[in-house]
Amino acid sequence: MTAVAEQPNNARNTSGSVMNPTTVERVAGRSDEMLLNLGPQHPATHGVLRVLMGVDGERVTRAIPHIGYLHRNHEKLEEVRTYPQCIPYTDRMDYVSGMQNELPLCLAVEEMLGVEVPERAKYIRTILFELSRIASHMVWIGTYMLDLGAITPFLYAFRDREMILDIIEETAGARLLPNYFTYGGVRRDHHPQMLEDILGFLKWFEKKLPEYEALTIDAPVFQARTVGVGVLDPQVALNHGVTGPNLRGSGIGWDLRKDDPYDAYPNLDFEVCVEYGCDAYSRSRARFREFRESIKIIRQAIAQYPKTGPIVPKLPRLKPVAGMERYRAVEISRGHLGVHIVADGSEKPWRSKHRSPSFCTLQALPDMAVGSKFSDAIAILGSIDIVLGEIDR
């Protein structure tokens, strides 16, 4: 990008109701290029993302993501709070699958304190973790189909996601931001009906899954819109640090549940869903296959579930030794979520750094979108399934 401080040639278009592109993007505009501010308020940006798009007719000539509209300073806030007070902040990063965000922080602090998590707590965590993954992918189905112009799957997906949220609400007390996992296990025992509810939901969901597939990945129009669209080269994906279903859709079977297992995952049998198309369709298929794997994981975990035992051990004082640091990462529904904690001997972390998957994935957007059609750019933005709360933190 050449940063030239010069007004674009199409001055009439930029001086009207659409904002002027500011700062470094004030590049010498070509006369056939129209700069389009996609966001921060736009139906397809999944939050408050602003993508500065150059379009030549319908062809996208550049796509520059601008982030920071949802920045809430979580990392700094965690540095001035005690360890137990940090957990609710993690919920608010990826608010679509809030429960999953609590886990890496818990794992890191548990390792620093040398706490052994009880078996029962491990299984509860694993079950709810996978349930959150299903809920998160349901939101993805709904919003992605909205991006592609179909409204009905959105309402179907949210109908079924509501069931998961009800289960989580009964157990944790909150739907989206449960604050349920804690250092050493889980905060309180689960609802006595929880496992039955989950089995009931899985039965219902397995029945509904073919319906979702018929409306989405098996539908001819969906395939026409996604196959060969937004090709993410495996090497480019690795360079950007793309993880999760987006990486697995590019043919690289990297999954922390297998590669760096935590909680009950070492005891469970499941496969990593890899698709080799590298396009939006492959990423979608990878997510749909993960539905079935998640169902398999939850069924196994419920079968192996130890019916008795503590949910949280006797904890030492939450004051890790000064100079101690840990990095732990888990595979949330969007990919590799890591937390780096540095302790200074007090009850507050000296530094807390979150490595969020959507942040890295969004950096690959220009590589995928430039050169495609404008409609494709929207389809690509939907297919990488970003959550702005987690990007901006």
């Binding site: 112009g149 289960i167 939901f201 219902w204 819109r225």
Partner: protein, 477 residues
């Protein structure tokens, strides 16, 4: 804490499967808005509500074509006299506008209720029976809003564009025959008029997008121009096939030619092409690129508000009825009821021939050239009740077409612009030309032509159904 073994616990599925409805109903009951089972009362109220609205649309038609001419003649004005034509000429557009407004109202409601049904929602619920007055309130809100023009728009064109779109939809009304003789303007070249009037709407949309100084609007307008102009071609060719086959461009004569056989069967290819191209002309879901919400915010009407937007909205939903109505005129036998096999029985033959039961009952009372009384006005051939019966069938066929389009809208995602153009220029236009040739062939040699047409059309239909309902399970990515 036996969790899995306890079979006597509450059935989890029962409790889990309808939580959204449960919460919603609880909230509604708290506010006293829902006393009984909402489904049953909803259906009953919907029947009453739609019956009233349907009756209103029907009433406007009867007013336009029977009561007002009868009243004027009773006042002593000859049908050919100057003042008769002046008064009726002034009243007819008002009535046509009323009809368009009522029909648009019904369509908006039907769409909202039908989409809600498909999507496990209730839709409008609180105003009027089963929410049937919701659209009226919405319209009142639009009218009461400030008539606002944003800065830096081409103000003349910005104001003109919604008018053009509305007038285009409104003009189509003029030539549609609702029953024998029930037509505002019996134009000889009706088919040409429809093509010409329909094209004006495309101008309106393009100018709206261009004038508003908004980039999304500009893109929407350009997309609309490309789409509407392209899909005019197969649409026009399919209409011309009908004209070739029927031997007339007058819509009344085209309908009369379908008394024994609806053109949908011998002209199957133009029929299917009209269905698809009509959807594109309506800018509805698989082809809703000009106003693609997730891409262009609101497309060509981004900067419009208040009644300016209302004009676009009413025009869109008026067209949503008028295009299926034209489908009924050109392909589904217009005002004729579905033909039934008569087996040579005279009474049944009369019925199938279009005479109404009422007319048969009172046939003896009416003699040729009798003085026009209210009794005769009701029961003479082409009288009020007969016309009402015919127009009922016509409105019903239109409604079936509307439902078909809504079904598609509820199901499919959107095409991309190049796929849209590909479908039109590589698929529909060559096929419509084949359809035109076959239509001419069928006119010259009916037996051979119709056989070929049905064979080709049937293959096409099988291909469509196969593609739509049995899609490829695996894609080689």
């Amino acid at each position: 804490m036996s969790i899995i073994e306890n079979k006597e616990a509450r059935l989890p599925l029962e409790r889990v499967s309808v939580p959204t409805d449960k919460h919603y109903r609880m909230r509604m009951k708290q506010h006293g808005l829902l006393n009984s089972n909402p489904r049953k009362s909803g259906i009953l109220a919907a029947i009453v509500g739609y019956g009233l609205l349907f009756g209103a649309a029907h009433g406007v038609l009867i007013l336009a074509f029977q009561v007002i001419p009868w009243g004027l003649v009773s006042l002593g004005l000859e049908k050919t006299s100057f003042w008769y034509n002046v008064i009726y000429g002034l009243l007819a557009p008002v009535l046509a506008f009323l009809f368009v407004a009522v029909v648009a109202l019904i369509n908006i409601l039907m769409l909202r209720k039908y989409l809600a049904k498909v999507q496990n929602r209730y839709g409008p619920l609180h105003n009027g029976p089963s929410g049937s007055l919701q659209t009226v309130y919405d319209a009142l809100k639009l009218v009461s809003k400030e008539d606002y023009t944003p800065k830096m728009v081409e103000e003349t064109i910005f104001t003109l564009a919604p008018v053009l779109v509305f007038v285009s939809a409104f003009l189509l009304m003029a030539v549609i025959p609702f029953a024998p003789g029930w037509v505002f303007a019996n134009v000889e070249a009706g088919a040409i008029f429809i093509i010409a009037a329909g094209t004006i709407g495309g101008y309106g949309v393009l100018l709206a997008g261009w004038s508003m100084n908004n980039k999304y609007g500009l893109m929407g307008g350009l997309r609309a121009a490309a789409q509407l102009v392209s899909y005019e071609v197969p649409l026009s060719i399919s209409l011309l096939s009908v004209c070739v086959y029927a031997g007339s461009m007058n819509l009344s004569k085209i309908v009369e030619a379908q008394q024994s056989l609806w053109f949908a069967i011998p002209l199957f290819i133009p029929f299917v092409i009209y269905l698809i191209a009509g959807l594109a002309e309506l800018k509805m879901t698989p082809f809703d690129l000009p106003e693609a919400e997730s891409e262009l915010v609101a497309g060509f009407n981004t900067e419009y508000g208040g009644m300016r937007f209302g004009f676009f909205f009413v025009a869109e939903f008026a067209e949503l009825y008028l295009l299926p109505a034209l489908l009924a005129v050109f392909f589904l036998g217009g005002w004729y009821p579905p033909s039934i096999p008569t087996f040579g029985i005279p009474f049944l033959t009369d019925m199938a021939g279009g005479s109404s039961t009422l007319q048969l009952m009172f046939k003896a009372n009416i003699a040729e050239g009798e003085v026009m009384t209210w009794w005769n006005t009701l029961f003479q051939p082409g009288g009020l009740l007969v016309g009402a019966q015919y127009s009922f069938w016509f409105l019903l066929k239109g409604a079936a077409g509307v439902y078909f389009y809504m079904w598609i809208r509820a199901t499919l995602p959107r095409f991309r612009d190049d796929q849209l153009m590909e479908l039109c220029w590589k698929g529909l236009i060559p096929l419509s030309l084949i359809g035109l040739i076959l239509a001419a062939f069928s006119r010259l040699m009916p037996a051979v032509g119709i056989t070929i047409s049905v064979l080709v059309g049937g293959t096409f239909l099988v291909m469509i159904i196969r593609g739509a309902f049995f899609p490829a399970k695996q894609v080689k990515a």
